[in-house]
């Protein structure tokens, strides 16, 4: 039986969402900091596209590539701002809270998917 790829993708997506939540927290905490530029992660689709096909290790000397959602590859880019303020700060609280809501619902979707798949697998194994 082939390993189920879905758990891997959902947990990677969750990792990406957690990193995004931490960036959103930084943006909101610095909402009144002079000259602070809001940061965001690359969309997950881009991260997924940039991921090469997984290579198997056939010899003990082979090294595994970095996971795509590690902090090293989490490059920040300034999101376009909604309003321009005198202090040069580009954080919009409403926008950040909207992003946080998106992250929250995507995270809950992922965990529900994992849960229902796990239930499915349990049912299958019980049937044997």
């Amino acid at each position: 039986m082939r390993p189920i790829h879905l758990f891997d993708i959902t947990s990677q997506h969750n990792q990406w969402l957690a990193n995004r939540q931490s960036l959103i927290a930084s943006n909101i905490a610095n909402a009144n900091t002079t000259g602070y530029q809001a940061a965001d992660l690359k969309p997950f689709e881009e991260v997924l596209k940039a991921t090469k096909l997984e290579m198997t290790t056939t010899a003990p000397g082979h090294m595994l590539p970095d996971p795509p959602t590690s902090a090293a590859s989490a490059d920040k880019r300034a999101g376009s701002t909604w309003d321009i303020v005198h202090s040069g700060n580009s954080v919009t609280l409403e926008k950040e809270l909207m992003k946080a809501g998106e992250v929250n619902s995507a995270y809950s979707l992922n965990t529900s998917v994992i849960k229902s798949f796990e239930r499915m697998m349990l049912t299958a194994s019980r049937a044997v």
């Binding site: 969750n14 990792q15 969402l17 957690a18 990193n19 939540q21 931490s22 960036l23 959103i24 927290a25 930084s26 909101i28 905490a29 610095n30 909402a31 009144n32 900091t33 002079t34 602070y36 940061a39 590690s70 902090a71 609280l93 950040e96 809270l97 946080a100 809501g101 992250v103 929250n104 995270y107 809950s108 965990t111 994992i114 849960k115 796990e118 239930r119």
Partner: protein, 139 residues
């Protein structure tokens, strides 16, 4: 690497701390709205200002907010004629604090909004941690 969700809670905590400090400064300004000097020609209370700075917390791997400096507002003091006041100078003019109540109230309102936003982040991060823990719960 630190857990990003726990890091968000810490970052939001630094935001809460910064905003509550801001409320403290505003309340100091408002409380001293009428604090004049006691000797002739003495300077009254000077309005305080607070500014924040972004700082990378290396242990956390996230950008937190810190109080950069607490400064004094250098706008000139408004003067009022009141010869009977102990702080009146030779011309009978008394210097009053350069605190503007409208500015302070706008500032405290903004601090309030930012505080709410930070609290919301803490709530959501905790909800996300809770969802992950619920995965282990047998339904």
């Amino acid at each position: 690497m630190f857990d990003p969700l726990a890091a968000s809670v810490r970052v939001a905590g630094s935001g809460l701390q910064a905003q509550s400090h801001r409320v403290r400064i505003v309340s100091e300004n408002l409380a001293n709205y009428d604090s004049t000097g006691n000797t002739p020609g003495a300077n009254p209370y000077t309005r305080k200002t607070i500014s924040f700075g972004a700082e990378l917390d290396r242990a956390l791997g996230a950008t937190v907010v810190r109080i950069k400096r607490i400064d004094f507002d250098h706008t000139p003091y408004p003067v009022q004629r009141d010869p009977s006041h102990p702080a009146a100078d030779a011309n009978g003019m008394v210097k009053h604090p350069n605190v503007n109540m409208l500015t302070e109230l706008a500032d405290i309102r903004e601090a309030n909004r930012s505080y709410e936003a930070n609290l919301q982040v803490v709530k959501q991060a905790r909800a996300m941690i809770g969802m992950t823990i619920d995965l282990m719960r047998s339904s």
